[in-house]
C-alpha cells in the first residue's frame, strides 16, 4: 500500500498557482528528496500533507486516510522555520514534546542529545544556531512516525553539522517509514536518497531513483538539477 499519495493536487494563492495538479504515490521504506529551487512549491506541498494548508483541488491521503488528526498522529514534521520556544530549557522542551506526541520516544531523544554535550538544564535561547537545528531534528526523529517531512534540515549549518544531521537521519528512520527531505543542497544529501522528485513551477517534472538517474544520464543528481533549473 502507498504510504502517501495525492491525485491532481492543486493549490492556488489568489492568482498564483503554487501546485499545479500533482499526482504521486510514495511507498514506505524510502528516503525521498524533494528538490526544487526557491518558490517551486516544496513547502506548499509539505504543508498540505500536514494539514496546515487546504488544497484548492485534488485529493491527498496518508496510509489511505484523508488529512486530519489521524494522519497528524503519524506524521513528524520539521518545518523550515525555528519552532523552538526560546524561554524553555532543553529538558522543558522534551517534556512539552512528550505531552504533545504519543509516539515521542524520550529515551531516544536523550540518547541522541548526549553526544552534543549539552546540559539538559540549558536554556534554548543560549544555544547556537547549529545546536538549535540539531535539537529540532532530534525531537522530530525521536517520534516513531510513519512519515517524516524534513523541510530544509541542513540549510544554514556548517558542513560538520550537516554530516551529523544526515548520519542521525540514516541511523534513526524506521524501515517502514517514508522520509521526505526538501533541500537545494543536493550534493550533500544525494548518497542517502532512494528517489528524487524534481519540482518546477508547481509540477513534478521528474520522479526517479537516484542510481537510475546516474545510470541513465551519466550525471549526478546535482549536475542534472543544475541543468534543469539553470537561470
Amino acid at each position: 500500500m502507498n504510504r502517501l499519495s495525492c491525485t491532481n493536487l492543486t493549490k492556488r494563492y489568489g492568482r498564483l498557482t503554487a501546485l499545479n495538479g500533482i499526482t504521486l504515490e510514495l511507498q514506505p521504506g524510502k528516503i525521498i528528496g524533494l528538490l526544487g529551487p526557491n518558490g517551486s512549491g516544496k513547502t506548499t506541498f509539505i504543508k498540505l500533507f500536514n494539514g496546515l494548508l487546504q488544497p484548492t483541488a485534488g485529493e491527498l491521503l496518508i496510509d489511505g486516510m484523508p488529512i486530519g488528526p489521524d494522519t497528524k498522529a503519524e506524521v513528524a514534521y520539521l518545518p523550515d522555520n525555528d519552532f523552538l520556544p526560546e524561554y524553555m530549557t532543553i529538558k522543558g522542551f522534551l517534556d512539552y514534546y512528550e505531552d504533545f506526541f504519543k509516539d515521542f520516544d524520550r529515551k531516544r531523544a536523550e540518547k541522541l542529545l548526549e553526544p552534543l554535550g549539552l546540559p539538559l538544564s540549558q536554556k534554548i535561547k543560549t544555544c547556537s544556531k547549529g545546536t538549535k537545528e540539531k535539537i529540532r531534528l532530534i525531537v522530530t526523529l525521536s517520534r516513531r512516525a510513519k512519515v517524516y517531512f524534513l523541510d530544509e534540515p541542513i540549510a544554514g549549518v556548517d558542513p560538520a553539522a550537516r554530516e551529523y544531521i544526515l548520519k542521525t537521519l540514516v541511523e534513526n528512520y524506521a524501515e517502514d517509514a517514508v522520509v521526505i527531505l526538501s533541500t537545494h543542497l543536493i550534493s550533500d544529501v544525494e548518497p542517502i536518497l532512494d528517489d528524487v522528485l524534481f519540482i518546477k513551477n508547481g509540477n513534478i517534472v521528474l520522479h526517479e531513483e537516484t542510481d537510475s538517474i546516474r545510470e541513465r544520464t551519466g550525471k549526478s543528481v546535482d549536475e542534472l538539477f543544475r541543468e534543469e533549473f539553470r537561470c
Binding site: E163, P191, D194, T210, R214, E223
Partner: protein, 120 residues
C-alpha cells in the same frame, strides 16, 4: 568521514567496487564477518537500500555469502579471491594503458616505463 563518490556512476556500483578492494587488499580477510547493511551504510554515509544492493551484487558474484541467521561473510574460496584480485588489477591496468596510449607511447615504451618506474 563518509565515503566520497564520483559523479555519474551509480552509487551502488561504487560501493560494490570499494568493498571488493577492501576484500582484495585483505582489509576484510577470507571468512571475516562483514558489518551489517545499516552499520556500513552509516559509515559510508549512504542509504541502507543502496548498501543492500551493493551487498546483493557482491553475493551474486560469489565474493561474499550469507549465513541465514548470523550475517554476511567474505568467501574463503581462495580461487575466487585470486580471480577478484586479477579482475581489479586488469581494470586498473586497462585504465593506465589507455591513458598512456593517449600520450602516444608504444607498447614497448609502456613496458619500459613501468619497469623503470618500479626501479626508481
Amino acid at each position: 568521514m563518509p565515503w566520497t563518490f564520483e559523479n555519474g556512476i551509480p552509487i551502488y556500483r561504487q560501493l560494490t567496487r570499494r568493498i571488493m578492494v577492501l576484500i582484495a587488499s585483505g582489509s576484510y580477510k577470507p571468512g571475516d564477518k562483514l558489518p551489517s547493511v545499516r552499520d556500513l551504510a552509516i559509515e559510508a554515509g549512504v542509504n541502507p537500500n543502496t548498501m543492500q544492493r551493493a551487498y546483493s551484487e557482491l553475493e551474486q558474484s560469489g565474493v561474499i555469502y550469507t549465513e541465514r541467521t548470523s550475517g554476511r561473510y567474505v568467501t574463503d574460496d581462495l580461487k575466487k579471491l585470486t580471480a577478484l584480485r586479477i579482475d581489479l588489477s586488469t581494470e586498473e591496468i586497462s585504465r593506465l594503458y589507455s591513458e598512456l596510449e593517449k600520450l602516444g607511447l608504444s607498447d614497448d615504451e609502456i613496458r619500459k616505463a613501468v619497469i623503470d618506474y618500479k626501479r626508481n
